[in-house]
């Protein structure tokens, strides 16, 4: 992952070489995590969530499916 270096460079550039503190990194980490979920839960998904998606199933019956999120089991690397 080439991200860490580019982020470090970015931080140094705006702090005169000092870099940002640990709290700021944690904050950015959370922001980035949320932003990526924001990409996954896109407009297409929200539209499907609200109005369903029509799919012809293999048994020949056309149904309207509504996605719902039931579980989310994940690690959240803090550091």
């Amino acid at each position: 992952l080439k991200l860490p270096d580019s982020f470090k460079d970015f931080a140094c550039q705006h702090t005169g070489g000092k870099g940002v503190g640990r709290e700021c990194i944690t904050h950015c980490h959370r922001e980035l995590f949320q932003a990526q979920w924001g990409v996954l839960l896109d407009d297409e998904f929200l539209e499907a969530y609200a109005h369903g998606i029509i799919i012809k199933c293999c048994d020949g019956i056309v149904r309207r499916f509504y996605p719902r999120i039931f579980t989310y089991s994940a690690d959240y690397p803090e550091k």
Binding site: A35, L40, A48, C58
Partner: protein, 351 residues
């Protein structure tokens, strides 16, 4: 006679438990009760005619299956039997882990060649495979040894010269030379694979003490991901999985002899109160204008675990998987069923 006493005695492994400890006569695990056939016929008739019956004035009792040998009953939300009953397709192999009992899994429908691929794929027969192996793996220079190898291939009594003549050598050699990942553009950006690359940006705050205080956007994080809706569509269009996909939740009930009322059995997402509630809310919600299609819940279960790729160094991946709660946990946890879907690889900020 220097063995300990416990090991001297021969153990008998075929002794049955005394009857008082046995709850049931020897019964194998059996699938849950399925819908009686005449009920299924009725339901598929009504759904294919698309005639929506007038809403009944009184509330009909929910549809129930007969009891199975363990006294288990499935009770549905609707008073009609479900239009699609995955339990019907369940076999002993699905609910047990008896080694060797698993039937040959049919090849997934992703397979592009319609006929069953040969055992010697991509070669059509053994003789062609041996010749191909000799050509590619035998070294670049001819040697006495490799000449002898060639002789032993063509003088084998089973050598299939007609099969070798019919082998499309150019085509096979081209296939062998192809690498899925270096074919033209990067596979990630190939629309057909369904993967997208989206740039993500975040707002980074800089404190008053820094050179340029304020909020500065930081972009340049590339998220590799798939469209969730596309993954759902792909799942429901997959004939192999669809058969065992539960469109409707049900309650699994057990009537033990010593209790007055039935007991709810929890075990699968599609028998859980959460799924039942979601299904209930959906059926009672306003329909899309002009739409009388049956409505169903797709139960998404996300799972992720950052993994180290290497024993040394810190190359890491943080993949997100999507499982469907409409499928049995017993099948979801079998890697051979391929029920986990990669949906994204998260990036993270590291200090």
């Amino acid at each position: 006679m220097d063995l300990p006493l416990a090991q001297r005695r021969k153990r008998r492994n075929d002794v049955k438990l005394p009857k008082r400890y046995r709850q049931f006569q020897d019964v194998l695990p059996e699938p849950l009760p399925s819908i009686p056939i005449n009920e299924v016929d009725q339901s598929s008739d009504s759904s294919s005619h698309r005639s929506i019956p007038a809403p009944p004035l009184e509330i009909l009792p929910p549809f129930r299956t007969p009891r199975n040998i363990f006294g288990l009953v499935r009770q549905f939300f609707s008073s009609n039997p479900p239009s699609h009953d995955p339990e019907e397709a369940v076999t002993l192999e699905d609910i047990s882990a008896i080694p060797g009992s698993r039937r040959e899994q049919p090849l997934s429908n992703m397979e592009t060649t319609p006929q069953a691929p040969s055992l010697y794929y991509p070669y059509p027969n053994r003789s062609s495979l041996e010749l191909g192996d000799w050509y590619w793996n035998g070294g670049v220079q001819k040697s006495q040894q490799s000449f002898n190898d060639l002789l032993s291939i063509v003088t084998n009594p089973d050598f299939d010269s007609a099969g070798v003549l019919a082998t499309p050598w150019d085509k096979i050699n081209k296939m062998l030379g192809q690498n899925d990942f270096e074919d033209g553009n990067e596979e990630w950006e190939d629309e057909d694979a369904g993967w997208r690359k989206t740039e993500v940006s975040i707002q980074v705050p800089f404190s008053r003490t820094s050179n340029h205080p304020g909020v500065v956007p930081y972009s340049g994080v590339e998220l590799y991901h798939r469209s969730l809706v596309a993954v759902i569509r792909e799942k429901l269009a997959n004939t192999g999985d669809d058969e065992k996909f539960h469109y409707e939740p049900y309650q699994l009930l057990w009537q033990p002899g010593h209790l007055q009322s039935e007991v709810n059995i929890q075990g699968e997402l599609y028998t859980s109160p959460a799924f039942m509630d979601a299904h209930h809310d959906l059926q009672n919600s306003l329909r899309e204008p002009g739409c009388d299609l049956p409505r169903a819940i797709v139960a998404l279960m996300f799972w992720s675990d950052a993994t180290h790729l290497t024993s040394f160094g810190n190359a890491r991946l943080w993949p997100i998987y999507l499982y469907f709660g409409n499928e049995s946990k017993y099948r979801r946890c079998k890697p051979s069923c391929h029920l986990g879907n990669h949906v994204a690889y998260f990036q993270k900020v590291t200090s």
